[in-house]
Amino acid sequence: KLSGFGKIIYINRGHFNLGRSRTVKEFLSAAKEKKRSFRVFVAEGAPRYQGHVLAKELVAKGLQTTVITDSAIFAMISRVNMVIVGAHAVMANGGIIAPVGLNMLALAAKKHAVPFVVLAGNHKLCPLYPHNPEVLLNDQKCPSDLIEFGEFSDCMNFAIGDPPQLHVVNPAFDYVPPELISLFITDTGGHNPSYIYRLISDYYSPEDFVLQRNLVS
């Protein structure tokens, strides 16, 4: 399905994955079958901990995997040759909506000049331009993933009314701007982030992405 990957050369070093993506898993397994030797670092991806699942699956395929915490990303990235992530959505400007924490990873990769590769099927393409994506294109998940209510109910002073004293933030997604992305790998091959807008016309009718005045007849 992913025809582009064969052109990518793996050197036996580590690659980064964040969270979990079936695409990524397939990608890496296929690479493994091509007899390339490489090691994978998987960041666990709190609070969903999808990294754990991914790691388990990769190990089952026989890949050398190391699980690290998200905080260790900056520490380890200097030893990594490539960062591979999946995306939740690909925006028209080439940015992606990705699981939370990927912006941090992309920044670290940029700093260390590590290629940041996004695997996304073309069905994830979206004709929208991300304006203020952190707020508008984001989900907030349940704070109890981070702190159970019972944990802090004793020390909260409810006499202080608005605003509440403790605010727990648990966003689900991150926006990664196109400047930080090196390559998209899609069903149709590898693309630069600047090329993504061209693909929109393949998948969306012109009414979706072309601004035109509605003719009032």
Binding site: I68, D70, A72, A75, N103, M104, L107, E134, V169
Partner: protein, 672 residues
């Protein structure tokens, strides 16, 4: 074990620079050649001896001034008073060109007795260097003062502290390597003695004989000492732990020891034995003062394991990249240590208690650990009594050394602890001999109290004062993990009535932010809590970032809890100023570029288990599969570009000023 070979690799560059730098370099061989042609025989001899003759200049220079030790990195050598072909510097070369041969001849004649003298002198230095292994900083300081090598650095290098000693490794290596530079002087003197090949050969063999004689006797003595040491080590539970040298350096110094005159052997014997002991114990003292032991080396690991107090099982599923660090094996230690408690009557109970607290994680954080350790040492000193026939200084230093190695076995030292230990050993070494034992003990205890007071308590107050000026109404402050200084800042700013919000970013696996959150909420601050993945989301709102540090390195990098680098990086990307709050006693002379060359590995099981989420058991049997490794780093190094300012008790400085503070103020405090 051919010291000659070692030295040659050091010497050759020097020889080469002579050829290039000194315009007079070609000429000097000529006068030599003229001598040779005069005295010796063949043109072939000429050709072959010209390189040695060039090197003659060098060692001859080396032998010259027993008092003045040539700076090791410096190709040029202090010249013989009056003699000429001694130097590398162009000036001297010019001289040598002119009046070269006669002084050279006279020089060569005098070389024989001279060389002996020099051997003893250099032997002095090597013994002194050897003594480094034995006791701590006191003696090291003396050696350092005599060695021209980056004195301050050498002294600073010889700390008992943890990671600070990486720098040490490089520096001591330099110093040690430069020592042989002097010693090859001897050999070259002996080797390249005559201008003539003949003379050379004679002297060479003479020199060799001298060396061989000393080395055999020396080696025998060393062996015996080793055997004795091994036997005693088995009896004693703990051996003294002293600033150690890298095994390589130990080897070098052993090689040097071979050159020592047998009369020096007694002193060095003990040092060798101790050094070997320490080397062996290093398996657990990985981040011990001198350059850490490389755990890759199976041989040494095996040796060291035999000596360790606490048995550490082989960790499974080691991450290749971190093979050089001690792997974490937690579960086995606690019961073992408990059982050994009664055998280890050498360990004072309060030190033991602190060690246990480290092991279980009850005491965490640089300041807390350092204070706990110092207070335990204070108790130990209070209860200490000098055994008969031993001096207080030596014995107490050895005892402290053994305590430190015990603490290391519980948990690798933090930088703050390392600096504190260095300070303490310094103080012990500086005790005037005239003091009685009781007075000395009282002195030391008050020194410890002063240290804690000045360097930690008052320093924290100063930092808080500085930092509060940076907080204004309406600010949104972000912090990562739980740093006691940052907490103090936030609380006192709140008490001053400033209106601000706090965002606490937490990270696995320690989740220290929750504790900070609890304390802040109890005081009434309004806080936001997120996990580290969400910092890109939350950074839009933030106006300032305050972070704590385990230490700040001399290249401006901040060595702090893992995750700090990510926070600083994202803050930098969003143009938010990042302030590091760190007491000056935590600064260290080491430099570090990434987080991999030196770090602390934590419990891998902490990653596989997620507290409170029983459904997440995907990684339960992680150790079963050999393809899977879990990596739990404790620290990371934040590059200095991300840091706007470091707030210390000496003021608010940019990261580039850290080496200045280390140099100016840490010397003043006379720890080093």
């Amino acid at each position: 074990m051919d010291p000659r070979r070692v030295s040659r690799t050091v010497i050759d560059p020097m020889v080469r620079t002579v050829g290039f730098n000194a315009p007079g370099a070609p000429p000097p061989p000529q006068p030599h050649q003229s001598i040779q042609s005069g005295t010796a025989e063949s043109v072939a001899g000429l050709v072959s001896s010209s390189p040695p003759s060039v090197s003659d200049i060098d060692p001859v220079g080396n032998s010259l001034s027993p008092v003045m030790i040539p700076p090791p990195n410096h190709a040029s050598v202090v010249p013989l008073p009056g003699a000429v072909p001694t130097q590398m510097s162009p000036l001297r070369m010019n001289d040598s060109r002119t009046g070269s041969y006669s002084p050279l001849e006279s020089l060569l004649e005098t070389l024989s007795p001279r060389s002996r003298v020099n051997v003893s002198e250099f032997a002095d230095e090597t013994t002194v260097l050897g003594l480094i292994g034995k006791s701590g900083r006191g003696i090291l300081e003396k050696t350092a003062s005599s060695l021209p090598v980056s004195n301050g650095e050498l002294m600073e290098a010889a700390t008992v502290g943890g990671r600070s000693l990486r720098m040490t490794s490089n520096l001591t290596k330099v110093s040690v390597v430069n020592m042989p530079m002097d010693i090859p002087g001897i050999e070259f003197i002996e080797k390249g003695k005559g201008a003539s090949v003949d003379v050379q050969k004679e002297r060479e063999s003479g020199g060799k004989k001298l060396k061989e004689k000393t080395s055999k006797a020396e080696r025998r003595a060393i062996q015996e000492a080793q055997r004795a040491a091994k036997a005693s080590a088995k009896n004693a539970g703990t051996a003294s732990k002293n600033p150690k040298q890298q095994p390589k350096i130990a080897k070098n110094s052993q090689k040097k020891d071979n050159l020592q005159i047998p009369s020096k052997s007694l002193a060095s014997e003990k040092n060798d034995a101790e050094r070997l002991l320490e080397k062996d114990r290093k398996r657990d003292g990985s981040l011990v003062p001198q350059p850490r032991m490389q755990f890759d080396d199976k041989h040494r690991v095996e040796k060291a394991k035999r000596r360790s107090v606490v048995n550490r099982c082989e960790a499974r599923n080691i991450v290749e990249l971190f093979r050089h660090l001690p792997q974490y094996v937690h579960g086995t230690q606690l019961p073992e240590l408990e059982s050994k408690f009664f055998k280890l009557d050498a360990i004072h109970p309060s030190v033991y208690k602190v060690g246990m607290q480290y092991l279980t994680g009850d005491v965490m954080g640089g300041n807390a650990r350092c204070m706990a350790m110092l207070l335990a040492f204070r108790d130990a000193i209070k209860d200490y009594s000098t055994p008969s026939e031993k001096t207080l200084v030596r014995d107490l230093t050895a005892k402290i050394g053994s305590y430190v190695s015990f603490l290391i076995e519980c948990r690798p030292l933090s930088i703050s602890m390392g600096n504190a230990i260095r300070f303490l050993k310094n103080r012990i070494a500086k005790l005037p001999v005239t003091l009685s034992e009781a007075e000395a003990k009282i002195n030391l205890q008050s020194d410890i109290d002063h240290f804690i007071n000045e360097k930690i308590v008052i320093a924290d107050k100063a930092i808080v004062e500085h930092a509060i000026t940076k907080i204004s109404d309406g600010d949104v402050l972000l912090t990562h993990g739980s740093s006691c200084v940052v907490e103090m800042i936030l609380l006192s700013a709140f008490e001053q009535g400033k209106q601000f919000r706090v965002i606490i970013v937490d990270s696995r696996p320690k989740l220290e932010g929750k504790m900070l959150l609890r304390r802040l909420i109890a005081k009434g601050l309004s806080c936001t809590y997120t996990h580290i993945n969400a910092i890109s989301y939350i950074m839009h709102e933030v106006t300032r970032v305050f972070l704590g540090a385990a230490s700040v390195l001399c290249n401006g990098a901040v060595y702090s809890r893992v995750g700090t680098a990510c926070v600083a990086m994202v803050a930098h990307a969003f143009r938010v100023p990042v302030m590091i709050c760190c007491e000056a006693y935590k600064f260290e002379t080491r430099v570090q570029l990434d987080s991999i060359c030196s770090n602390e590995l934590g419990d891998p099981n902490a990653i596989s288990k997620v507290p409170g989420r029983k459904d997440l058991n995907h990684l339960e049997n992680w150790s079963d599969s050999e393809n899977l490794q879990l990596l739990n780093l404790t620290y990371d190094a934040t590059p200095s570009d991300y840091i706007s300012m470091i707030i210390t008790d000496y003021g608010m400085v940019p990261p580039t000023s850290v080496p200045v503070i280390v140099r100016e103020y840490c010397r003043e405090q006379i720890w080093i």
